[in-house]
């Protein structure tokens, strides 16, 4: 645990099989209000890292702390109650439930008097969703689904929001909308940890970036620096050495 961190990991080892961990000893910190992007080549263990933090992949060693609380072995449903929300890359909404039911489900863990208020507050952030509360979520477009998934995660007013590749499969215009939303959410004080393949868009909104390679944290720095770091770009990100601003 580190002082003044919203979320931290120490020596985190995680994966699907104990003998073959995918995340191999990561020390990571995110400060309150920070937007940190987790980068790295395919197979670097980015998704496994954030899933281990969220509690959907087993942690074999090390610790995860939310503020000063050790939440390493808490089940996923307890972590969200403590303010750690996670939006998976795929299957991140309940397609058979309506838009409103998706939001109500997330609000059900709040005290009764707060539920309506939180749903209204999130609907105000995503007016598109508020217009069709009775629509089955399965009928939404890719971008709208992503918005609903983020809205659902925000219902509990999380301290830390983790998103696993929210731009995957979306058109460039929709990606822009998603990242604008994330920037607004971050400005409201929510710490965001973002796993992204869309390096340029992610670094444009992030404060800081970390680069994972083979399950280990190999490099980190301010987003503006990383965006122009030719070695990082060439070695790990698979993009042209000099990223346009």
């Amino acid at each position: 645990m580190s002082e003044g961190t919203a979320l931290s990991t120490r020596g985190l080892i995680a994966g699907y099989e104990r003998d073959l961990p995918i995340v191999r000893g990561i020390d990571f910190d995110a400060k309150p209000g920070e937007l940190v992007v987790v980068l790295g080549p395919n197979g670097a263990g980015k998704s496994t890292f954030v899933k281990a933090i969220a509690g959907t992949v087993p942690v074999f060693a090390g610790r995860v702390a939310l503020g000063n609380d050790n939440v390493t072995q808490l089940p996923a449903h307890d972590k969200i109650r403590r303010g750690l929300a996670f939006v998976p890359q795929t299957e991140n909404i309940f397609a058979t439930l309506t838009i409103l039911e998706n939001l109500e489900l997330a609000a059900d863990i709040l005290p009764r008097h707060l539920r309506r208020q939180r749903i209204a507050s999130v609907e105000a952030m995503f007016p598109d969703l508020a217009r069709r509360p009775a629509l089955r979520a399965g009928q939404l477009s890719g971008g709208q689904r992503q918005m609903l998934a983020v809205a659902r995660a925000l219902i509990v007013d999380p301290k830390v929001l983790i998103l696993d590749e929210p731009s995957a499969g979306l058109s460039p215009r929709i990606v822009g909308e998603v990242f604008s939303s994330l920037a607004r959410i971050n400005q409201s004080g929510v710490t965001i940890i973002l796993v992204e393949q869309n390096v340029k868009a992610a670094l444009a909104v992030a404060h800081r970036g970390v680069v994972l390679v083979e399950g280990q944290l190999r490099h980190e720095g301010p987003a503006a620096t990383l965006a122009h770091d030719p070695i990082i770009a060439e070695l790990y990100l698979g993009v042209a050495p000099a990223l346009p601003a």
Binding site: A54, P88, A95, L105, V156
Partner: protein, 303 residues
Amino acid sequence: MIAQALMDGLIAGTMIGLGAIGITLTYSILRFANFAHGELISWGAYAALGVSGALATAYAPLAAPIGPFSFGWSLPIGLVASMVLTGLLALLVDVLLFGRLRARKSAVIILVMAGFGAALTLRSLLEFLFTSKPAYFTDALQIAMKLAPGVRATPDQLLSLGVSALLVFAVHLLLTRTAIGRAMRAVSENQQLAALAGVDVRQTIRIVWLLGAALAAVAGVMAGLLVQIRPHMGHDLLLPLFAAAILGGIGSVPGAMLGGLIVGLAEALSVQVIGAEWRAAVAFVILVAVLLLRPRGLFGSAA
């Protein structure tokens, strides 16, 4: 004749429907066909028999028939106790058997086979405790009332229909209007995402067992009240139960009840049209036809 057969089919169909709701809930959430569900029906009937018998022995006025019905207050009290006891039995089976297999991430076929084993054990235990001799909640005879030309039903039968309709409506409201209902539907669709949304998946699974078993107990008591109580009564209902659940669409409560009614009516009509010896085959034919022609059933989702 046909009108009376429809009435009989309707009554049998509600019993099947109630049992099928439990099957459809456990199937949609736990993703396996629980062949021990029929035994919960039998155990529910015997639990109610035991409790109501004990109450009637302890305080005789509880056995005096209520109004036009054939039973006294000991049976409704026994029914409530039986719903709780059968729910606890289902939880016990889950803790001892299915839960352990889930924790080991066992294949579906292992869970199905375990269900067969549990069914055999529970059925044999009932035979050991109560013998295979039929038992009855009451020995009072009821005169069927004339409802329409050619249609008669006893007060017990009409009460069963009413209670079933009420229970289906209540379960439907539970699933669609309450937090626990939303949690059950979410777990049914995606357990991991449900956990990420704050749903305690293990607790939700326990509630599903309790609910499914409680409804099975009601079906068992109805079957016992309208026909007789035997250790094999639930096992004999298993095929119609699965036919109803699959016909209605896995996960759909109204579908399970409608499926139950269709199976019950088809069985009753088959007696009139093609002969009583074919009655048992009707559910099988419906099951095969649905699986071949519309595997997702009447109200099931395409996924």
